[in-house]
């Protein structure tokens, strides 16, 4: 690392400017959300928390918030149930195929959600899952797959998987017991980190939710979109509340990633 760089000030300035660019929309939204009114002027008229009070006492918002949390939880649990055993088997038995798997999990990346919905809307048009949150659970699985899989494989690779399994088998455990009682507790950090990454990805998902389900199961993003005709101060309060929540989750994800 450079200890005494004469251009330290210049570097700080560059970073400061870029961070400022990133900060401005957030800061403005925050200011907007705590101002009573902000007409055709550069600064708001007066400050108050009334938009937050109004938002957090709106049952429709609270319901939407609850639905989003519920949908994310169910999607993450289903994804973990599918991906954890998969990542384990790939590392334990089929490591030589890992390169191919790396490509397979990227398949959803080549399909932007808007393209996938074009197909999904037609394929599941008559089925009972269409228009319900359950179809989103499947779509969200494809969103989190690459992130969750890589995070778990990295964690599994850091363990000495074969030694762990051999040791547990010497002590009389079956492969299943070895996986459940030895491997699983050892990758709980990877699981936690995958969990938080998935949450921050899914909590903000709009395209699948809007195209496949819409108002029939109003999630937070759909609610936000539907409120676009109401006061900009009110929608700003939603954006900031949403963002604080995301901030919390990225911070937790980082904490679990560090160790």
């Amino acid at each position: 690392m450079h200890k005494q760089d004469p251009r330290q000030g210049l570097h700080l300035l560059v970073i400061g400017v870029v961070m400022l660019i990133l900060l401005v929309p957030l800061l403005a939204t925050f200011l907007y959300s705590i101002s009573t009114s902000w007409g055709a002027t550069i600064l708001p008229d007066a400050l108050s928390l009334k938009w937050y009070v109004q938002l957090w006492s709106d049952p429709r918002f609270l319901m939407a918030f609850g639905r989003s949390v519920f949908l994310c939880m169910v999607s993450i649990i289903v994804s973990l149930l599918v991906i954890v055993p998969l990542a384990f088997m790939m590392e334990y038995r089929y490591r030589q195929w890992q390169k191919i798997m790396d490509l397979v999990i990227l398949l959803p990346f080549a399909m932007p959600p808007i393209v996938a919905t074009a197909g999904l809307l037609q394929i599941y048009a008559g089925s009972p899952v269409m228009g319900t949150p359950w179809i989103l659970v499947g779509c969200y699985f494809t969103i989190v797959l690459p992130f969750m899989y890589r995070s778990l494989v990295n964690n599994l690779r850091a363990l000495n998987l074969h030694d762990l399994m051999d040791a547990s088998s010497l002590l009389g455990a079956s492969s299943f017991q070895g996986f459940m009682q030895v491997v699983l507790p050892n990758i709980r950090k990877g699981i936690a980190s995958a969990w938080f990454i998935a949450f921050s990805l899914l909590f903000g998902e709009f395209v699948f939710a809007n195209m496949l389900v819409g108002t029939r199961f109003e999630t937070l993003q759909i609610y936000l979109f539907n409120m676009r005709q109401t006061s900009g101060h009110f929608t700003s309060a939603i954006v900031i509340s949403y963002f604080v929540f995301i901030l919390l989750f990225t911070m937790l994800a980082n904490r679990f990633n560090k160790t």
Partner: protein, 278 residues
């Protein structure tokens, strides 16, 4: 105890994965591909593609998507590169703080981002008013391609920084001193050492940014409803619009989009290979 004979019983663990991937990724892909060649009566046709390539409306959508993605990816990459190269020279504390902040703003996209930009750069936005008072911004309109370029660039910057940050580890600090000793200027050092070494990462990042912008739907949709003419917006209108439902045309348009993504990836691969044997 003998180690258990390798059995095939554990293969059922792959079944849920294959089913999920099949039902929600492979099946829609297959449907889109097949239906893009399907006429309304179910027969084979190239008509959907002909319609797109002979319609000024759809050609403009393709053009708009192309330039919007190209400009926003280039600007995002440039600003990201600037920030990342400076990031290596500041204290570890500052660096950690910046990365945490960038990580967070990377999640600021789609509908919330569109709303934030309406507040600052919309017709009555605070910054619009400020800049207008100062005499800048002659007729800038957030709800046009130029306006969208600003918003798209904004969400490309954090992604560019997060993708480029690890790449800079490939640069050894003493290389700069070494090139200095050999009489190189800062410009020479960047042109002859930094850029060639970072070239693959820059190209790879650029490709991901392009893909990110080409497929983006939520931000443009929330900002302009369906008024801006972009490929994803057109696909959305054709599969879920009120007036012009035409899933087969949407499928063909989707293939046009995916082909662009594939082409960008292939060009990237080709450039990398060419460099290696140069």
């Amino acid at each position: 105890m003998m180690p258990a004979k390798p059995s095939r019983a554990h293969l059922w663990l792959f079944v849920p994965f294959v089913l999920m991937l099949g039902a929600f990724c492979l099946a829609p892909t297959y449907w889109v591909l097949v239906n893009s060649f399907m006429a309304d009566d179910g027969g084979f046709t190239l008509g959907n593609y002909k319609k797109i390539l002979s319609s000024k409306f759809y050609l403009i959508a393709i053009e708009n998507s192309f330039w919007l993605s190209l400009y926003s990816s280039f600007l995002g990459l440039l600003i990201g590169l600037l920030a990342t190269s400076s990031l290596r020279f500041v204290q570890g504390k500052v660096r950690q703080w910046v990365i945490a902040f960038v990580n967070m703003s990377n999640n600021f996209a789609g509908v919330p981002l569109a709303f934030a930009f309406i507040i600052i750069l919309g017709t009555n936005g605070a910054i619009t008013l400020l800049l207008n008072k100062m005499g800048f911004l002659n007729g800038f309109d957030l709800y046009t391609r130029a306006g969208l370029t600003v918003v798209y660039t904004y969400f490309q910057i954090p992604l560019a920084i997060l993708l480029l940050y690890p790449a800079f580890d490939a640069l050894k600090d003493d290389w700069e001193e070494a090139s200095r000793l050999l009489g190189a200027s800062t410009f020479d050092y960047w042109r002859k050492v930094v850029l060639p070494i970072l070239f693959p990462s820059l190209l790879g990042t650029f490709v991901l940014l392009l893909a990110n912008a080409l497929g983006a739907y939520a931000t443009a949709f929330a900002l302009t409803a369906s008024n801006v003419n972009l490929i994803p917006i057109r696909i959305g209108a054709l599969v879920a619009g009120d007036i012009s439902l035409n899933p087969n045309l949407a499928a063909a348009l989707s293939i046009v989009l995916v082909v662009q993504l594939v082409m960008v990836t292939i060009i990237n691969q080709w450039l990398m290979r060419r460099r290696r044997y140069a």
